[in-house]
Amino acid sequence: MAEYTKPIPSPDPVSQPFWDGAKEGKLMLPRCSDCNRVHWYPRVICPFCHSMNIDWIEATGRGTIHTFAVQHNRGLVARGWGDEVPYVTAYIDLAEGDRMLTVLKGVDPNDPESIKIGGAVEIEFEEASEDVHIPFWRPV
């Protein structure tokens, strides 16, 4: 595996089930056992009803593009990403609810008009290290 040069997140005990799922190519999401709503990012308390009964579900890995931008300025982005400008960042509305930030794969950053808000996307995972596989999304 080529060395991964971009930032690698640090899993913590609250989010560990998500990162465990990512290693297996599964999108695991936290869901409140009381109000049944999915939230993102993972929390020890439901941000909607304040219950502390949180479970994890395996999600479909499907979503839609809520909004996106094209990063052109290497000085404004993190180490490693500067070499990849222009690239497309996006917020994804998850099929199960709530929203994730990502980098869109399989799109043309030089033709932003060709990228559709509302367009369907699906998740994939990239192995950044043995313990951390990072979710990315691409148009279906």
């Binding site: 930032p7 609250v14 990063q71 052109h72 993190a78 690239y87 932003p112």
Partner: protein, 421 residues
């Protein structure tokens, strides 16, 4: 019916540091604070020793120590560029409650010069450096960093939802630059008809009345042809990075009557937050200014229709356009039209960002203080430079102003309704 705290206190003076913008010789952020504090105390005739409450974005203990003060109220609220509007809100409450008599709100930030000194301006605690911070953990992998990389997502969503265009937002930059051409203190000031100025070396500053080599009027085409930063945001959609120091004094009616400069009353104040990390922003076309403005208007017993000018944090063109909608000055989706139709321009019915804004006047990293100083200068009549109206320093004859700061990534807002006698 105004709320109980309405006009319990006034801004009784507002001043800046001696050198702002791109100073030839860098001064520390602390020195920028102190110069402004000294200037506002000289202006009002209120001695520094009378200050018994200190409000700043993280600097209050250091300011107290440096000045040898022992304040009774110490507030270090630091939630981005709107912190200073929140400080005014907090100072109003503290004075209304009888806890303090004279509040200082202070700002100093060498946003430009830090690049030559190897230091930091004031910095913002995004994620606090904790790798387990959930916002950091679930966004850092994608490289977003500087503020434009986030705000561009909101601009794109606004365009998608309302059919606004990049050209619509460019109008905001064009009109704001026009205001800057009337303000010799503005970084992008340049006298009309002066022709091309010689290019400056990096770090060199033409200074004073000469203006900046990049200054002077711009057009929508200039904005559209400026280089892409974070599409759809281009260079001229983005605010400046400069040095600034500013300070205001706030006091109740009794002390206000002893000030050498007139009071500008805090008729209404409010603050709110919608998220801290943009990952948690629910609606990318709305900010918490809807809530903070509603609280401020309610306290004032006034509404957007009563505002004769507005000072709106314009970190980006999209920030100003969206916020105008949240303040009730334009209908949803129609914020940029205030500029496009020249209502916000010199001579318009609702002058906005009469100093030239964060886009073309000065933006040190946190711009909330610059909003306060300009609102005070216009409403109090203490502005000193030549202006549009021909009166010394006065760009408008407004007697009411809504001021809105925005902090973080469209995260936090503080709104004030200010009035003069």
């Amino acid at each position: 019916m105004p709320g109980e705290a309405s006009k319990a206190a006034a801004i009784i003076g507002a001043a800046e540091a001696n050198d702002i913008g791109y100073p030839a010789t860098p001064k520390s952020s602390l020195t920028l604070h102190i110069e402004a504090i000294n200037n506002v105390c000289e202006m009002t005739g209120i001695p520094i020793a009378a200050i018994d409450g200190i409000f700043s974005a993280g600097w209050s203990p250091q300011l107290a120590e440096y000045l040898g003060l022992h304040p009774k109220y110490i507030d270090t609220t630091s939630v981005g560029g709107c912190s200073f509007e929140m400080h005014v809100h907090h100072a109003l409450a503290a004075i209304h409650a009888g806890v303090i008599n004279v509040a200082l709100v202070s700002h100093g930030e060498m946003g430009f010069s830090q690049r030559f000194t190897g230091g930091k301006g004031t910095g913002r605690p995004f994620g606090g450096g904790d790798p387990w911070d959930p916002g950091t953990q679930h966004t850092s992998a994608y490289g977003l960093g500087g503020a434009p990389t986030g705000y561009s997502h909101a601009m794109n969503r606004h365009m998608h939802r309302y059919g606004t265009t990049q050209e619509d937002f460019a109008e905001i930059a064009v009109v704001t630059r026009e205001w800057a051409t009337l303000n010799p203190r503005a970084v992008m000031y340049r006298k009309a008809g002066e022709g091309d100025l010689p290019a400056l070396e990096q770090g060199e500053w033409g200074g004073g009345k000469r203006g900046h080599t990049f200054g002077g009027p711009i057009t929508v085409d200039t904005v559209m042809n400026s280089r892409a930063i974070s599409w759809p945001i281009k260079l001229l959609d983005v605010c400046l990075v400069t040095d600034h120091g500013g300070a205001v004094l706030i006091a109740g009616p009794e002390i206000a009557s002893t000030s050498k400069t007139p009071p500008v009353w805090i008729a209404g104040a409010g603050e709110s937050i919608s998220h801290w990390n943009m990952l948690e922003m629910n609606d990318f076309t709305e900010t918490s200014a809807g809530r903070s403005a509603s609280a401020a208007y309610r306290m004032a017993g006034m509404g957007p229709e009563d505002m004769e000018m507005a000072m709106i944090y314009d970190s980006f063109t999209v920030t100003a356009g969206m916020t105008a909608e949240m303040l009730g000055l334009a209908r949803p989706g129609e914020g940029p039209s205030l500029w496009k139709d020249r209502h916000a321009a010199p001579g318009g019915r609702l002058p906005i960002n009469t100093n030239g804004g964060g886009l073309s006047f000065n933006h040190s990293g946190m711009y909330g203080m610059q909003l306060l100083v300009e609102a005070y200068r216009q409403l109090s009549g203490t502005a000193e430079d030549d202006g549009f109206s021909g009166d010394p320093g006065k760009q408008t004859s407004a007697r009411s102003c809504v001021v809105n700061g925005t902090g973080g990534t469209l995260s936090t807002t503080g709104t004030l309704v200010l009035t003069s006698d």
